[in-house]
């Protein structure tokens, strides 16, 4: 995932380009599972939580899927275009104050360090590493682009912060006892 290549029988093989892994996890059934090691979890850019659909949406889903309605999908992009846009996202400029905000936000999650926030000191046992700062900046750039902006601002960093930090911070027993959820802590940090 990180190296975009694998080694088998002593030979290196390049993986596809673009290469994108989407993994799923079920949060309720934990029996017979092996929780992902923190180091492997850290390689995922986003941890996205799916919720039950809204009532109106579910009505439409059930209506569409229980009839024989067939939808033909158009191909919108080619692999070359995707690679081009991936490069474009990296090329867009970022101002120093946005960069500083992103790095500071990651630093704020680290308990009992120089920049650690009060909420991290009391509720977290581990904070996010530098990979979080990198993803915060690149995620903000992409978020700015889809909104039609040519440079990210602090709002763009905030928009992607929850999905990036969620799996990188570890709560302590006090947070669990007091019912401080991960998302509550992140909301406190970006405030």
């Amino acid at each position: 995932m990180q190296e975009r290549s694998v080694t088998a029988a002593g030979k290196r093989y390049e993986l596809g380009n673009p290469f994108f892994v989407l993994a799923t996890q079920n949060p309720i059934e934990q029996e017979g599972t092996y929780p992902l090691p923190e180091a492997q979890l850290d390689r995922f850019m986003f941890n996205v939580w799916l919720d039950y659909p809204k009532y109106e949406d579910e009505l439409l889903v059930v209506k569409n899927t229980t009839s024989n309605k067939k939808v033909e999908l158009k191909k919108i992009l080619t692999a070359e275009e995707i690679i081009y846009f991936q490069e474009l996202v990296r090329r867009i400029p970022v101002t120093d104050n946005v960069l500083e905000y992103a790095v500071k936000l990651a630093a704020k999650t680290r308990p009992n360090t120089e920049h650690g926030a009060a909420v991290s000191n009391s509720y977290l046992s581990w904070g996010a590493g530098p990979r979080a700062s990198q993803f915060l900046v690149i995620g903000a750039k992409c978020h700015a682009m889809i909104k039609g902006k040519y440079s990210p601002d602090i709002e763009d960093v905030k928009a992607v912060a929850a999905a990036i930090l969620r799996h990188r911070i570890v709560r302590n027993y006090k947070a669990e006892a007091e019912g401080m959820s991960i998302d509550k802590i992140i909301a406190e940090l970006v405030k």
């Binding site: 380009n17 892994v21 939808v71 996202v89 993803f135 690149i138 995620g139 682009m145 889809i146």
Partner: protein
């Protein structure tokens, strides 16, 4: 492909809207999730989806692979899976030489279904 970066950025917004319109023909609601997945693709990142069964996680990945025109493989993770089931392995060919047969990992989009059902030896083979 485009003359200037500004022109390309404007084209990207149009393409992104088209992508959304096409995906929403299949996936109803879940706009935030679709946005996050698309951001991670264009940022060269990877994405972990957490949710109870039946929320159209697999369908979402299928649909995105379709509209992006990329090759797509799904790997169901089970406790007895081996790394060679993911990467591929060397087998003896007709010409009495070993040749490498690529596993499902060689595609543009990989859906790693229930990734926590397998021991870390497997996830570390590609993660």
């Amino acid at each position: 492909m485009y003359k200037t970066d500004v022109e390309a950025a404007d084209a990207f917004v149009v393409k992104y809207k088209e992508l959304n319109a096409e995906i929403s023909k299949i996936i109803i609601g879940q706009d935030e999730v679709i946005k996050d997945v698309l951001i991670s693709i264009f940022s060269k990142g990877h994405c972990l989806l957490v949710g109870v069964p039946g929320l159209a996680k697999t369908l979402l990945v299928n649909t995105i692979a379709d509209v992006l025109g990329l090759s797509y493989n799904r790997i169901q993770f089970t406790p007895d899976l081996m790394p060679s089931d993911i990467i591929g392995s060397e087998i003896l060919g007709d010409d009495r030489h070993f040749k490498f047969v690529k596993g499902p990992l060689f595609a543009n989009i990989i859906l790693a279904d229930e990734i926590n059902r397998t021991p870390p030896k497997n996830t570390s083979s590609f993660a």
